[in-house]
Assembly symmetry: C2
Homo-oligomer: 538 residues x 2
């Protein structure tokens, strides 16, 4: 409830409060000349020491954990370095919501002291690793507004399940990151904190709903962040920002106790938490750590799946999907997937080109399942918060979405089960280890133009794990071609025409999506590691 | 659709067809004098040879598999022995629906021949083991009537997932077993095949819905049968017949492709398949075999949980629950649970007495979830089948059950999630390895009197695995005590008064139920093995 204050008052107070939590000496000079691509600013702005630049740029999450163990770094200096870099990222991209740098530095100091006091104690798996979190995770004493006035100034009293587990595993939590109003669109813009910008090109969207996380990790203000994904909300910002992001199978990573825009009894498509990182091995490390930690103790809905320590296949069989038969990828996206396939073939990977069955049916059922309550719950929240809809939410047209009946939901469920069986057999019949396809037909778009989400959402519908691997950026040679290239009708053409020139999309990251079989997240991690090494280290 | 024939015509034809599939020399003399307890008749009726009596009586499923491997038995002679004994059981208890003895014997002969032709081939895990199946599993060429005229004379064209897997693992399938009309009650009576009787006491119910399986296994016409359980349908007939029966966590044993009385999009409480057997180790062996066989390849909805080969705890901590706070157990059931607890204490097991939280709430939500479509689907099937309701179905009063709205279902789901979390923490806070409680407040009752199912259904609601261990039988000393013993009100008293004397319940089996944590089926198997060894081998 907004009380007497308007949403504008609330927003102003929240943003000022947030800004005060950044030390003055970490503030960027207003005189600094910025281009559209701000990825190098942390290195050049003079706020980080050389050592802090090294800590934040030359290490992924696995390196950080290793080097703290080897006493090359202290937890405290690592935390300070990432807090500073996150502060810089915030000032450039507006990626943060809640800041708890000082508490994090204090915790890191304590971890160092505990270590010094008992050097023979076993290392906790995440000892000293700073991890950033999407705003929906609750930390006592801090808001989880999820971009909605309604939730402002209602600090949490308990931890969500995952941050509690991460702390028990030795991690350091230092900030939360921005999301779209409602978390139901792919543009991280809201009336509380405003819009997160894309550090590769400030004129493009950072994606969403884990958009703040995407921008922060791209800036290396974090080497491991946690997003959530029900239709692509980890993968879309990973695509937009050129980072690694994995949507795990549901029920593996504790999800319980988050702020939600949905009815607590919501059913249908499973929403999951997962890693966003600067390397594929950091994503795998996160999954391995969670799956080795009896994570289900923290969340009664978690499955009791364990990391097995399987030997990954050296010659996987990968199904190559060039498009979904509904939306034509932008020219640079087509280039990215073709180049990736060629590199894999050259490296001896077994590639088989496939068409995905029944995509439109799957997408139809998925949208039906998102709207079981006619999105009434979230509309009520906005009404109570007395705030207008942001542009990307307006475009969804929530008020026009019909409710489902009980029989309607059972019909959707029957349809989903049928298609899950079709894909299961498709996978087994083709003897696949993975599928490679674009993560979206588009790159990061201009604000509020992010369109089709079939390419990510299909795997939520099927509950298959899927990881984004960045592979490059839009080049000048990625010219916009004729409308004839859009193969699948009017809707396709509308999206395709958004790609008007490589200049508009300058520096927009490119990527591929690698999909595994349901609950074979460990096997997928093996394939992703191999594919990443071929695409990015050769 | 019943066509021109009445349900009585259909039933007569089905039963005659079934009887013709029993060889004449396997038919029991009509002159044989029978008491109410027919458990010994297979040994005394003169149909089985001494060797066949030994094969069927002195071995559990694990022994059978071992002895075929050691060439002590052939698959063929084992199959013949169990077919004969199942034929005898059928004539005494009416436990079978579809019979395929001749096909089974032919398959067993082929398995023997394949073995002889290639003695160095690796053994399939279930090579030569006869397994009986609840009627709901589909076998090409045979009906799955599930006790409903509507489904009669519509032979299956494909295997259900589990029988397909079992055949691939080397098992021999030889018969299917009787169920209640609709499979929604605990009395295995229907208009197609009639009522299954309890071989311990022909005047008592065999339970349900896997009642035919319960009677068959009690007669040792099968040492391993497969039932299904959504509220107790494996455990109730296990209790009634004095056999072992395990309700696994959902998603482990393939369930797909069965005949169902429910909408294909039905949601809510998960129905599962699981073992019913003559020993606890046969149940564990079944679970280990399934969880080591990538069973998910056969059913896209299966979880990818693997058997770990854990070392079971030698000194487990077991929560003792004497009653559920809603229904008072019959005097012999109280004796059984107290005696079991004392034996475990004497053996050094750590027993902690507990009260279960929120049982009535959990039961209320469960009943709500069973009736999401107002049980309309099954009523339509009966209408199309032009058959009347049997007595136990009448008592359910299907027509009076209201439908749920979508919001109603989400509210039930929210309530379920909350209680699942409460029990999760209850389990962890008490550091439990298992809970021991009665499987029901009653023993096998007179026909159509089976009452409260809280004691089994609670674990379906929570999706916890639960196993019935038989511990003895009603004794003359189990006198009916005063009404004051019924502690929980009128409804409780009504059920409690059914226990009028030990004579009525003569030879009724007693048992305990051991419950594990969700998806810790392997750990539960360890505890069950230990508890069983203390209760039954000392």
């Amino acid at each position: 409830m907004a009380g007497d204050k308007t949403y504008i008052d609330i927003s102003r107070a929240k943003c000022e409060q947030r800004d005060r939590l950044i030390r003055n000496e970490w503030k960027i000079s207003k005189k600094l000349a910025l281009g559209n691509n701000v990825l190098e600013v942390p290195k050049t702005c003079g706020i980080l020491t050389d050592r802090e630049i090294t800590i934040t740029e030359d290490n992924d999450a696995v390196d950080i954990v290793d080097k703290i163990r080897q006493q090359e770094y202290t937890a405290e200096e690592v935390t300070v370095a990432f807090c500073k870099r996150a502060a810089v990222a915030q000032q450039l991209t507006n990626c943060l919501t809640e800041i708890f740098f000082e508490e994090a530095i204090e915790r890191a100091r304590q971890l160092d002291q505990e270590r010094a006091a008992d050097p023979s104690a076993p290392w906790k798996p995440l000892h000293g690793l700073p991890i950033s979190l999407k705003d929906s995770f609750k930390i006592p004493g801090f808001d989880s507004t999820i971009g909605m006035t309604y939730f402002a100034n209602k600090p949490a009293t308990e931890y969500s399940a995952l941050p509690k587990l991460l702390l028990d595993l030795g991690a350091v939590l230092y900030c939360k990151t921005n999301v779209p109003q409602t978390m139901m669109t792919a543009d991280s813009d809201n009336n509380v904190f405003g819009r997160t910008l894309n550090p590769s090109n400030l004129k493009l969207t950072a994606g969403g709903s884990s958009g703040g996380e995407g921008a922060l990790v791209a800036m290396r203000g974090s080497v491991l962040g946690i997003g959530t994904d029900i239709a692509g909300s980890i993968r879309i910002p990973s695509i937009c920002n050129g980072i690694y992001g994995a949507r795990p199978s549901s029920g593996i990573v504790p999800f319980d106790g988050q702020q939600s825009p949905e009815d607590p009894g919501m059913v249908g498509i499973e929403v999951v938490a997962g890693p966003m990182a600067t390397s594929s091995r950091a994503c795998s490390f996160f999954m391995k750590t969670i799956m080795s930690a009896q994570a289900w103790r923290y969340d009664s809905s978690c499955l009791h799946l364990r990391w097995q320590g399987q030997q990954p296949s050296r010659k996987p069989r990968i199904g190559l999907v060039l498009d979904d038969g509904v939306y034509t990828p932008f020219p640079p996206v087509r280039r990215a997937i073709r180049e990736a396939a060629q590199k894999l073939r050259d490296a001896g990977v077994d590639i088989v080109e496939l068409r995905l069955p029944h995509v439109a049916d799957a997408v139809g059922i998925t949208y039906g399942m998102f709207a079981l309550d006619g999105c009434q719950f979230v509309q009520d929240l906005m009404k109570e918060g007395k705030e207008p809809q942001v542009e990307s939410v307006k475009r969804v047209n929530l008020a026009a979405i019909p409710k489902s009946s009980m029989q309607g939901y059972m019909d959707l469920t029957a349809g989903r089960r049928k298609l899950q069986a079709v894909y299961h057999n498709f996978w087994l019949d083709n003897q696949l280890d993975a599928i490679m396809l674009p993560g979206a037909p588009q790159t990061a778009t201009r604000f509020d133009e992010w369109g089709p989400i079939n390419y990510t959402m299909l795997w939520n519908f099927l509950d298959y794990p899927a990881t984004i691997i960045p592979t490059g950026r839009v080049r000048e040679s990625d010219v916009a071609d004729g409308e004839d290239s859009a193969l699948y009708g009017e809707q396709d053409l509308r999206n395709y025409k958004l790609y008007d020139s490589p200049e508009t999309y300058k520096d927009a990251p490119l990527s591929v999506q690698i999909v595994g079989m349901r609950q074979e997240d460990e096997a997928l991690a093996g394939v992703v590691g191999l594919v990443d090494s071929i695409l990015n280290q050769s």
